[in-house]
Amino acid sequence: MDNYEKFIQKARENRIDPGIAEKLKTRILDATGSNAGTDYRALIVRILFGWTEVPYLRTGMVVASVTVVLLILIQQGIIVDRIGSLESRIISTNTENILKFQKEMMHANATLVTMSDNVFSDDSIKVAGEDLLSLVRSYRELQVRYDELLEVVGEINSGDQIKKLPGRDKLKL
């Protein structure tokens, strides 16, 4: 047995002073006796934050809080993204509507200028805006389909077709 092993053996056999242990025992029993525990402030702190001394609870709370923060961040990201796309949609829709409206107004002006020479030469007529737009749309449709209409009218006038028209007998042709 070398010196090191002798030293370890001696260290194992070492005892502490019994006086120290006796004093400590008194301190412990005083601290845990019936007079102890009247410190309500310490009790409240222990109730509120005592869980931090439990390793599993502490780790669990850390994991939960990190997860909640991550979820909030992800949610915020999604909301910001959706708001962004919503704004672009609103702008495009509005732009389209505005352009359409402006186009219709241009057509309406042009139509009114054209029609004023033929129709509204002498009389003064008050027309509601919606009626006017409806009139303009019908007029434009008539312009577009004018040729088709002429063809239909031509066929009717050609002879046999006129006999097939419904309600012909009521007409005094």
Binding site: N3, A11, K25
Partner: protein, 184 residues
């Protein structure tokens, strides 16, 4: 040495007198254990006092008489480990100074140190103060308390490999320091 079953039962039911008997039986080994881990005996006393207060508060969690001492020992070791980790930075600085002091004193006469080394407890304290907190815990539990790897594993929660590795390095270092001191 297991505590008497009846005492444990009475203690669990809040019998303060029974707790007093239990403290009398188990305080000395617990205090000795804490003193081996910590350098200042005042710190060890405060820590053991806190541990026994906690034991009293958590008395309902005591499962059996056989498991009482290991449970208290586990509380003490874990608290000592936390304490050592908190003190690690300061201790590191102190150890570096102490180590250089030891190397110097190995070459020259240092009566104070020689006087202190007369006590093996003091020698042990010098040696363990130069180990890391983990090595210190494993070294004392293994070398001085003579616990098995399984028992150390149950107390500290470390893996068997980690215990063996830390124990090997701690023993090697302890021997080096002891031989340095012994040269004088």
């Amino acid at each position: 040495m297991p505590v008497d079953k009846n005492l444990i039962e009475a203690f669990r039911n809040g019998d303060h007198e029974a707790f007093g008997y239990i403290v009398s039986q188990s305080l000395e080994p617990c205090l000795r254990l804490a003193m081996r881990f910590l350098e200042r005996s005042e710190d060890a006393e405060d820590l053991v006092q806190d541990c026994f207060i906690r034991v009293w508060e958590k008395r309902r969690y005591v499962k059996s008489a056989e498991s009482f001492i290991p449970w208290v020992r586990k509380i003490i070791v874990n608290r000592c480990y936390d304490f050592l980790r908190r003190e690690q930075t300061r201790a590191k600085y102190r150890d570096e100074n102490r180590e250089s002091e030891l190397y110097k004193s190995a070459d020259s006469e240092a009566p104070d140190l020689e006087l202190r080394l007369a006590e093996s407890e003091e020698t042990l304290r010098i040696i363990t103060s130069m180990l890391s907190p983990k090595q210190r815990i494993v070294f004392i539990l293994s070398e001085i308390e003579e616990l098995s790897v399984k028992e150390i594993k149950d107390i500290t929660g470390m893996t068997s490999n980690s215990i063996k590795s830390n124990c090997y390095h701690a023993r090697k270092r302890a021997r080096e320091i002891f031989e340095l001191l012994d040269k004088r």
